[in-house]
């Protein structure tokens, strides 16, 4: 939350201070700047703030508005980095050129190279003789940063019959030793309290911490193992909110392959499919454990409550589930069960999204329509919004579990819950766009085919 305000005339937006100081540096920064001369959004986010301004060391520069002395200090920091930034810009141009020459296309060059370019500029200054060699090494290095953490390696690893036998035994033992439970009411009640506070400027983390400490995530996971319904006030929606296509989850299999298009519900996925998703989607694969270790840990995790080892991540599932049952993407306004501040925030976002989609002529019918085809399927997903939400949430949390990245406080948990809501919305938008494009892309157009074609 922004701090209390000072008089208007004195304060200046930090973004403006950065913009002005940047432009004052003059020419030589084109590759880090937008067409109008402002620094690229990514330049500010990945270079200027974390590497030059460093608000962690200078908390007074972390605010959105700065008083004149702070503004002046920030401008000086940028001015003093002018030489290094110009060198960074030249390294970036060189790296992009090298990348093209080497035929590397994966990833966004800004994300991949910005920080490295700043390091190179710090170490070598501007690129000189021998810089091409360095650039090639960096591009190669970053292209292979996965360090063998690939789907291919996973396939090889899981091809070993001895290993498969061992994993199978582990899965059987771990699945047998589960301790199911039947009542999660206490966890869900507390989840509602947490959701009521998580959008506040100073979220109260204590209820969240209590849930983690008591093990409410584990409790909910144990209930999902045995109870098909009745958790959310009726037989529908199911207790697991679509985390499995079955009434209750079944023992995971090991699996030998996967395809993005046909992935089953999260808790129905094989070990292979679970790890496949992690390897496919992780932008920083070098942070993952090596493939044999990934494989060794997954049987235990897959038989843990909710398929996750870390309790804070399991609590995030409970919070997400409690949030998901009250989502109202179609704006029906039905008074959902105990909507909280978090629901109001996310449903408000859906309402804005709906108005964008109407203005962009990308609607789906709010009422069921048997003739609706692909669009009706998308509308149907909006009528059961929890399934898409839980699916995405689980994948994100599983990725964190694998990387050993828990959610230490309510603010970080809410960032994930809110981010998933946003992703679900963006998914919907992309799917509507694709469905409409498919409709208008039927092969024969009027101009080409004046006569109706027979099928």
């Amino acid at each position: 939350m922004p701090p209390p305000s000072q008089p208007v005339d004195e304060r200046r937006p930090r973004a403006q201070v950065i913009d002005r100081a940047w432009r004052d540096l003059g020419a030589g920064l084109e590759s880090l700047s937008g067409p109008g001369g402002a620094p690229l959004t990514r330049t500010v986010k990945l270079i200027v703030l974390p590497l030059i301004v460093r608000p962690a060391l200078r908390p007074e520069l972390a605010a959105d508005f700065l008083v004149p002395t702070e503004a002046a200090r920030l401008a000086v920091l940028i001015r003093e980095s002018g030489g290094r930034l110009r060198a960074t810009a030249r390294w970036f141009t060189l790296l992009k050129k090298t990348r093209r020459a080497l035929g590397v296309v994966a990833g966004n060059p800004q994300d991949l190279y910005f920080q490295r370019c700043f390091e190179l500029a710090t170490e070598h200054g501007a690129p000189t003789t021998g810089a091409e060699e360095v650039a090639r090494a960096v591009v190669d290095d970053l292209a292979q940063a996965g360090g063998g953490r690939t789907v291919e390696a996973l396939k090889d690893c899981l091809a070993d019959p001895a290993l498969r036998a061992r994993l199978d035994a582990e899965l059987a033992a771990a699945w047998e030793s589960r301790r199911p439970a039947t009542d999660a009411a206490e966890a869900l009640a507390l989840a509602a309290e947490v959701l009521e506070t998580c959008t506040a400027p100073e979220p109260n983390s204590s209820a969240y911490a209590a849930m983690v400490e008591v093990g409410h995530g584990e409790l909910f996971g144990r209930v999902v193992w045995t109870r098909a319904g009745g958790v959310w006030g009726g037989e529908e929606p199911p207790a697991h909110l679509g985390l499995t296509a079955r009434p209750v989850p079944a023992r995971p299999e090991i699996g030998r392959g996967a395809s993005t298009a046909t992935l089953p519900a999260p808790l129905d996925r094989t070990l292979f499919e679970r790890l496949f998703v992690v390897l496919q989607s992780s932008s920083r694969r070098e942070e993952l454990p090596a493939v044999p270790e990934l494989v060794a840990r997954e049987p235990g995790r897959s038989c843990a409550p909710l398929g996750l080892d870390d309790e804070s991540l399991r609590v995030a599932v409970v919070l997400g589930a409690r949030l998901a049952v009250g989502l109202d993407p179609l704006g029906t306004g039905d008074p959902g069960p105990g909507r909280t501040a978090a629901h109001r925030a996310v449903n408000g976002r859906w309402r804005r999204e709906a108005s964008v989609l109407r203005a962009r002529r990308m609607t789906v019918s709010p009422r069921p329509d048997p003739d609706g085809g692909a669009l009706e399927a998308l509308a149907q997903d909006l009528r059961t919004p929890w399934a898409a939400y839980m699916r995405r949430l689980w994948v994100r949390l599983h990725g964190r579990d694998v990387r050993g990245a828990p959610l230490p406080d309510l603010a970080s948990a809410w960032a994930v819950l809110d981010g998933v809501a946003r992703s679900v919305m963006m998914d919907h938008r992309a799917r509507v766009r694709a469905a409409l494009r498919a409709l208008s892309a039927t092969p024969a157009t009027a101009a080409d085919a004046p006569e109706p074609r027979s099928a």
Binding site: M1, P2, P3, S5, V8, R11, R12, P13, R14, A15, Q16, G34, P35, G36, A38, L40, T41, V44, K45, D64, F65, K96, G107, G331, A345, G348, R349, R351, R352, A354, S355, V356, R358, A359, R360, R361, T363, V364, S365, P366, D369, D371, G372, G373, A374, L375, E376, A379, L436, L439, S440, A441, T442, A444, T445, A446, A447, P450, P452, R453
Partner: protein
């Protein structure tokens, strides 16, 4: 300089409204710009929605700021620092709204243009009978990519769509290059406009790491241009972009249906009920004829197709209501330049009227699954949009006028069918 109003809403979001349209216009979906969906330009930016009215005088956008911290990145650049501070204060709990003066900047104008371009890509009222040509989608798409790149400060992640726009519309790169090469260099003319767009597309592609044959040709053409004069050769624009002007209305070509005509009329062409590119935007694109075949009553519906509508595979439907009764759907299939369908008609008399009274028949066209449902009669607004399109095309036909700042796609649409 324009006056704006900054106030916090009940949901915690902060709204910046321009001019006389302030927060009291109403409903939960209202963005501070009243009017139907097709009269609003909407831009999704970091932490906020920006909305402009399509009709009426240009001005600063209405902003619905839902994440004040993210929005601080651009608020000062779009509205000036005073408004940025007022939004900050409103979010921090400043109780009452404030009225203050907003500045304008290059970013304000470019953002408005981007918003309008997105609107045009979805709602441009292309119509054969109205003489409003369609806008070439790939040309418009690439110019939107260029504008998005120019407005890069507005977004804080990579879902601003530049990469998608370039990928989807890269087919226009080569024709645009040929068009550019065919034009004599002249200051502030279309050649400059083309070069600006092409350079921005090239830079945007470079920024996000896109590559491919079209983009490589674009890069080398732009590199060459710095050193060489262009080889000017006339070019046929309609051939370059494969324009579809050959829309021959199949008036009277329908198979004779027989029977006795008992009524005929025009239906409602509600643009909101189907996606762009299927139905001609003319007000009278929907027509119907009711016939008597002995005791049976049938209705035939014809809907003029959009010039680039797909020939098959689209389940468009007509919706028929008789005397205010429940809606009844008739599937439409493509026949020449119309979507056509025929169905039985239940002519029950309206309550309180004699059986002999002329039936009241209402016909609409919609895409099932897309249709948000029938709405109020918006004929006046549709006509205003057609007027706007005609005005812009007239401006675009004279590249010297700087009035509307036409898009390349508009210049192309307004160009006469001859060698350029």
């Amino acid at each position: 300089m324009t006056e704006v109003h900054v106030a916090r809403g009940r949901d915690g979001s902060v709204r910046v409204t321009a001019g006389p349209v302030s927060g009291q216009t109403g409903g939960p979906d209202d963005e501070g710009v009243p009017g139907p969906d097709f009269t609003r330009c909407v831009l999704d930016v970091a932490g906020a929605l920006l909305v402009w009215p399509v009709l009426g005088t240009p001005g600063p956008p209405v902003a619905e700021v839902h994440d004040v911290r993210r929005a601080q990145q651009w608020l000062w650049a779009v509205y000036g620092e005073g408004v940025a501070a007022a939004v900050h204060d409103a979010a921090a709990g400043h109780p009452t709204g404030r009225r203050l003066t907003a500045g304008t900047s290059a970013l304000t104008h470019t953002a408005a243009r981007l918003g309008f371009g997105h609107w045009a890509a979805r709602w441009w009222p292309a119509s054969y009978p109205d003489g409003i040509p369609e806008l070439e989608g790939d040309v418009l798409g690439l110019e939107l990519a260029a504008l998005t790149h120019q407005c890069q400060e507005l977004s804080d992640d990579f879902d601003d769509g530049v990469a998608d726009l370039i990928e989807e519309h890269r087919a226009a790169v080569d024709p645009l290059l040929r068009w550019w090469h065919a034009l004599p260099p002249q200051p502030d003319g279309t050649a400059d406009h083309l070069e600006r767009v092409l350079r921005l597309v090239d830079d945007a592609a470079d920024c996000v790491g896109l590559d491919g044959p079209e983009l490589q040709r674009l890069r080398s053409a732009l590199d060459e241009e710095r050193g060489h004069a262009r080889a000017s050769a006339p070019v046929d624009l309609s051939a370059l972009f494969a324009r579809r002007d050959g829309h021959a209305l199949a008036a009277g070509a329908a198979p004779r249906a027989g029977g006795r005509v008992i009524a005929r009329g025009a239906g409602t062409n509600d643009w909101r009920r189907y996606p762009p590119g299927f139905v001609d935007s003319a007000e009278h694109a929907v027509s119907w004829t009711a016939r008597a075949h002995g005791a049976r009553r049938q209705i035939e519906v014809e809907v003029v197709a959009h010039v680039s509508a797909p020939a098959a595979g689209v389940p468009l439907a007509a919706e028929v209501r008789v005397n205010g009764g429940g809606p009844h759907r008739i599937p439409l299939v493509r026949r020449d330049d119309v979507w056509a369908g025929r169905g039985e008609l239940e002519l029950l008399p309206e309550a309180g009227l004699p059986v002999t009274a002329t039936p009241r028949i209402e016909v609409g066209v919609l895409l099932p699954g897309f249709d948000p449902g029938p709405g109020p009669d918006l004929g006046v607004e549709r006509e205003a949009i057609r007027d706007l399109a005609r005005r812009r095309l007239a401006d675009a036909a004279q590249p010297s006028t700087d009035g509307t700042g036409p898009f390349l796609a508009e210049i192309l649409a307004a160009a006469p069918d001859e060698d350029y």
